[in-house]
Each structure stands twice: as C-alpha cells, then as structure tokens.
C-alpha cells in the first residue's frame, strides 16, 4: 500500500503529543467516560427493545448452583462426580474390553495359522504378529474402551457447564498458589489431552501464570494415561476387597491419584511463583454461564470421530513401530540375554528404588511418544521373556504382572510415576510451540521427572518402613 510514513518515530511523537495534550488524570476520566457512553447507549437500546413477559420464573440453574457450590457439599459433590465418572468408565469398559480382547486374539490365532501355512520365516512372523499386531491389539482392547467411555462422559460435563463451577470452587487454592483461577479450566482440558490443556492456557493472559499452567498441566492424567490408572487400580486395589465393591474401590483409588495430581499441581505452582516465575496473581474474572442441555447425539458422534479414531490412528502410528522395536530387542541378545533384559537389568537397581522394575521404567521411556503404549510394552516385554499366556483378559494381565513380581506397591508406584513423569512427546512439542522457546519444554521435562522420582522414592521407602 502507498502508505508512507514520512518521519521516523512519528508514532511515538503522536503518543507524546497526546500525553502533552492530556494529563494522566484527564485520560483516566476520558477513558471512563468512553466506556460509560458506550454502555449507556447499549442500555438505552436494550431497554427500548427488550421486554420480560409475565415476570421471571426462578431459574432451576440457580438452585443447582446453590448445591454444587455450597460450602459443605461443593467439594464432596465434585469428588463424587469425578468418582462416578471413573466408576462408570471402569464398569463400562469391562465388557467391551473383554470382547475386543477375545476378537483380536482370535484374529491373532488366524494370523498365526496363516503364517504357519505360508511357511513364512520365524522372524517375519515375530515382528509382524508378535510385535506389531499384538501391541496394537493391546492398545485397542485394553486402552481404547476406557478412553472411549471417559471422553464422552467428560464432554457431557463440559457441555452442561460444570467446568466453570469447578474453577469457581477451587479458585481460592489457586490464588494462594499465586496462579490464575482459569488454571483449573486448563487442567480440565488436560484430562482429555495434555497438549490440548497446554493450548488452552492461552485463555490466561499474564505470561507468568500462563507458563505455570503450561508447566503443571502434565500432573493431570490425560486420556492416554488414565486407562493405565484404571486398569492397575482395578486388578490390584479392586481385587483386595469383595468383588461386589471392587469397582468402587478402584474408582476411589483413581480419584485419590487425581487428587495427588491436583495437590502436586498446587504445590509446584506455588513453588514456581515463589522462585522462577515470581509474581502475584493477576486480575481474574470468571463467567458462570447458565446450565445447558447437552446434545447427547453430537457428543457421541464427536467423541467417536475425534477421540476413538484419533486413538486408533495413534495406535497404528506409535504402537506399530514400538512393537517392532520391542520384538527385535526381546529377540536379539548378547550372550544369551535379550537386549531388552540387558537394558532392563541396567535400569533395575534404580527402578527398584522408586518401586518399579527395569522393564516398567523402560516401558515409560519407550512410551515417550504416546503414553497409551506403556502397559502394552510392559506386557510384551514380560511375555517375550518366557510366559506363554494368552493375554486376553484382565485376569490374565494380572497373572502376567504377578508372575513378574508385581505387588500392590508396584502397581501404586507405576500409577504415581505415570501421573507425574515427563510429558509425552506431543505435549512437549506443544509446549515448545506455545512458549516459543526450547527452554520451557526442557524445564518441564526435568521438573516433572524430578518430582516423579522424588515422590515415588519417598512413598516407596515410607511403605517399606512400615
């Protein structure tokens, strides 16, 4: 365009001129007056054209809010709702999980027959069926059902309008931690996916508070991680009690883990705003919109298309190469020890200190691209080391783990580590993009991993003490 600004610094000259014309006080008055004039005009037009007929009936939403944010019931209801969502996920995932497992391992048998019939080389069969297919089958049968159930339930709460109420209830804790009240909204998004949670932090305007929200988002278990929590809670903690209560106990344990995540988020936020990211909370306003009837059909369609297909795609993209990798590592070795055991043995002494074993720690490292594959890799690695179980049910999974020395302490440690450890690759890339620097993803990686190691170490040592 032909716009030519004739003189250098003309913009600052203009601003200086304005400053000369009007004093600071005058400007504040003018500014106030501008806003008042606009609102005045809006008020006039609105009152002229809007009529409320027959008075207003009391809004049921107000009554619901009276309960959901009440002093005594506000927090218990939040926990109950969260627990309820987990419980529905646990019992809902059970059946499809078993079905999918059976179907997929039936297909595996057919594949095996096919490979035997074509007399394909052993290694090809191993890589394709025992490696690629099995890992994918595990992701789909074990991880997918809880995700496919949790996500629509969560979206339902979002569409109803419950999330801002959660932010309202929890705000004071965030304020005391020196962070923004909307951080709880970004955390809620993190339940779906931490990368989405990191992006959601854009609603926070102050750079300092935005960074805190980004760095701590990982302490919310995302949809890719919490099937791990649910499965382990079900087969280890749930099994400790009468089977009639096991799903409740499992749900309660998962709620407990989520609470640990929230508490750590608050502590870390507080720590950050006292050290690296010093400052006071910036101004905060939160709108509590009216409750709205969710569109169940749309939610289901959207969850299926956006979530289920997304997970399947990731399963192929990540689980397949991981399967190849694990199989090769499990089947090539130095001096009779497979590579996977070789590496696991190196990691083992350290892993034991934090309640895991070498294989589990290795699985977390290999699960860096996507947390969905951690449990499948653990199972694959154990199976490759000998056991010939057909891993098609929760019971079988439990047996595999127990045979490999798992106790409830291992399960708890794995859950805690899963909750606290480094963010997945996608999340770290998103942090890089959002902060436009390499420093913060690296910091996030180090911070979360250090916290995971410290917490795990303390918990495990405390348990062994008693």
């Amino acid at each position: 365009m032909e716009l030519i600004i004739s003189e250098k610094n003309s913009i600052s000259r203009i601003i200086k001129k304005v400053d000369e014309y009007f004093s600071k006080i005058e400007k504040q008055q003018l500014r106030d007056q501008i806003v008042e004039d606009i609102y005045g005009c809006a008020e006039r037009i609105a009152s002229k054209n809007v009529r409320i007929e027959g008075g207003r009936q009391t809004d049921w939403g107000e009554k619901v809010d009276d309960i959901l944010t009440s002093k005594w019931l506000g927090f218990p209801i939040m926990l109950l709702l969260l627990g309820g969502v987990f419980w529905l996920t646990i019992i809902g995932a059970n059946y499809p999980s078993a079905m999918l497992g059976e179907a997929l391992f039936w297909v595996e048998d057919r594949l095996t027959e096919f490979f035997t019939w074509t007399q394909a080389p052993e290694w090809l069969y191993g890589i394709l069926v025992m490696g690629v297919y099995r890992t994918m089958a595990w992701v789909v049968s074990v991880m997918l059902p809880p995700m496919a159930i949790f996500f629509p339930l969560f979206t339902l709460m979002e569409d109803l309008g419950y999330l801002p109420r959660v932010a309202f209830n929890l705000d004071n804790f965030f304020k005391r931690a020196g962070t923004h009240g909307k951080q709880s909204l970004t955390m809620s998004m993190g339940f779906g996916c931490n990368a989405a949670g990191v992006i959601a932090a854009r609603i926070i305007d102050s750079p300092r508070e935005k960074l805190i929200a980004i760095l701590t988002n990982n302490f919310v278990p995302c949809n890719g991680r919490f099937p791990t929590l649910i499965i382990l809670a079900t087969i280890f903690m749930g099994n400790m009690v009468n089977s009639a209560y096991s799903s409740f106990v499992a749900a309660a344990v998962v709620v407990g883990i989520v609470l640990v995540g929230i508490i750590i988020t608050l502590l870390v936020s507080w720590g950050l705003s006292k050290t690296f990211l010093k400052g006071v909370p910036s101004s905060f306003t939160l709108e509590l919109p009216p409750y709205r009837k969710p569109q169940i059909g749309k939610i289901l369609v959207r969850s299926f298309l956006d979530r289920t297909l997304f997970v399947l795609e990731r399963a192929v993209m990540v689980a397949a190469p991981a399967g190849v990798f694990v199989w090769i590592f499990a089947n090539t070795g130095i001096g009779g020890v497979s590579l996977i055991n070789y590496v696991a043995n190196i990691l083992d002494p350290f892993a034991v200190l934090i309640g895991l074993d070498g294989i589990v720690l290795l699985a977390f490292i290999l699960g860096f691209p996507a947390n969905e594959i951690v449990i499948p890799i653990i199972v694959m690695s154990y199976l490759s080391a000998g056991a010939m179980l057909e891993p098609d049910s929760a019971e079988a999974l439990r047996e595999i783990l127990v045979t490999n020395g798992w106790t409830w302490v291992t399960a708890l440690s794995t859950m805690l580590f899963s909750l606290l450890h480094f963010p997945c690759g996608t999340t770290l890339l998103t942090i890089r993009k959002e902060t436009e620097s390499l420093k913060w993803p690296v910091f996030s990686f180090l911070l979360t991993t250090t916290i995971a190691i410290v917490v795990n170490f303390l918990v495990v040592q405390l348990i062994y003490l008693f």
């Binding site: 030519i4 913009i11 501008i34 009529r51 007929e53």
Partner: protein, 270 residues
C-alpha cells in the same frame, strides 16, 4: 528517513492473519462475547466440527472454514470471544486487530439474546470499526424459555444494521444469516450503522486529535478510521499503535528508543 509500508495491499495485510486468501473468497468474521455460540454458528455454516463447550474461553485458536451460498464461496473466521474490543487482553487484541486490519467483508456479531445489553456493548464497538456488521441474535430458544421478548424490527431500526435471530444449535435462522451475508458482500444492501454519540468533552478532544493525526500519518485514513483511532489514543491504548507499527512499518526504532516516553501513564500493556 521515510518508512515504507511493509505490506502492499489488503491481501498481504490479510496474510498477516494466516488467512488462506488464494481463492479470493470474501472474508467473514465471527465476533461476539464469550460463550454466545460463535463456534456453533461456525459449525452450522461451514459443516466443520470446531469444538464447542459451555464455558467462556473454549475457543483459543483462530479457526477458518468455507461455506457456499448461491454459488458463491465465503471464508468464515471464528474469533475468540471478548467482552469488549478495548484490547485489555490478548484475545481482545486479536479480535480487534482482525476486524481493524484484515478488514473482513462482513462481520457477524453473535449475541446472547438473553442478555442483550452486555452484548450490545460489543456490537457498538464493532460498528465503530466497520460498517458491514450483522447482528446474529443467538440462543433465541433460551430467551423464549425465559420469557424474554425482543423487538427485532425495533433493534434493527435503532442499530441500523441487519439483525438475524437464530437458534444455532438447531440450525434455525442460519439460512437467513447466509442470505444476509450474501447481500452485504454483494452490496445488495448497504449498511450505515448507528454510531455511539460521546459526551461533548470527548468529541472535542477527538476532533483535535483527528487534525493532528491527519497531518502526521499521511495516508493512514484510507485504512483506519481516524475518529476511532483518536478515541483509542485518548484512552491511552498503546497497543493500537504497536499493531499499526507491526503491520505497516519496517522500522523498530519505536520499540527500542522510545519505551521510556511511551509508558508514562502507569498502565502496562503486554
């Protein structure tokens, strides 16, 4: 001496906002208060599946999509929700800069029909920036349930812009919305919105500034309404000058050399 404009023409200006302008579609912006159903309208018009949710701030990324009406294709941009355009937050700055500099061919302001007054506050700010504004009165079903009756014709008359009542969630009223967009873009209707009348002391101050600006920034009135710009300068909004500098000028001297002078009124703009 003599700073040349960084971009030459509206297309390049629009490219600054990541708009795919290869097809030369008319650009339609969706603005509005948070949580009024902008993304729902966006989905309804484009058939895309932009995420919606019942909380303010759901949309943080700028989404764009296309829709066709009467054989013509339009590009629709879903802007973040804001209470005002006075640029007190990043979203407000994005929305304002978009309407101000990318100069959409039409701007749809999606308003919550149950809460007209607060929403009109934004409408009145948008009409200060651009003429081609359509008021989409959304959530009409909720308004009805709350016994809120809105005189659409009266509103149209007072605001002097097209007003389209909708229930975006059920797709009601969207056809008429498209029709209105089509009419405005093709100049079948010409809009001259009602503008806020400010108190005399403000109008006087603005008058003085407009004169100043005209001589100092020759040529800029083609792109920016000087009356509006003066109002922003009056209230000490420096973000607008930064945006102008970012988009029009190559020189960085403004930022580096004059910081001390600029930040005199104790207001910190990030």
């Amino acid at each position: 001496m003599g700073l040349t404009a960084r971009s030459s023409g509206l297309n390049l200006l629009r490219e600054n906002f990541n708009i795919d302008y290869s097809k030369k579609n008319p650009i339609i912006a969706l603005a509005g208060n948070p949580n009024t159903g902008k993304s729902t309208v966006f989905n309804g018009l484009t058939g895309l599946r932009q995420h919606t949710g019942n909380w303010p701030g759901k949309t943080v990324t700028q989404a764009q999509g296309n829709f066709r009406y009467q054989g013509q294709e339009f590009t629709l941009i879903d802007l973040p929700g804001t209470y005002s355009l006075l640029a007190n937050s990043t979203e407000e700055r994005i929305a304002r800069d978009f309407i101000c500099f990318a100069r959409p061919d039409a701007t749809i302001v999606v308003a919550d029909a149950t809460n007209l007054e607060r929403n009109l506050n934004l409408v009145l700010q948008v009409t200060e920036l651009t003429d081609n504004v359509i008021l989409c009165l959304n959530l009409m079903d909720e308004a009805e349930r709350k016994n809120i009756k809105i005189d659409v014709a009266g509103l149209k008359n007072d605001l002097q812009i097209p007003v389209v009542p909708t229930v975006a969630r059920d797709g009601k009223g969207l056809k008429e919305l498209k029709n209105t967009v089509y009419d405005i873009v093709n100049k079948n209707i010409v809009v001259h919105p009602y503008r806020v009348k400010y108190s005399p002391e403000i109008e006087n101050a603005v008058e003085e500034l407009v004169q100043e600006l005209r001589t100092m920034l020759t040529g800029i009135e083609k792109y920016i309404n000087l009356h509006w710009l003066s109002l922003r300068l009056l209230e000490g909004d420096k973000t607008i000058m930064r945006s102008i500098k970012d988009l029009f000028l190559k020189d960085d001297s403004f930022e580096t050399k004059t910081e001390g002078v600029v930040q005199t009124d104790g207001v910190n703009y990030i």
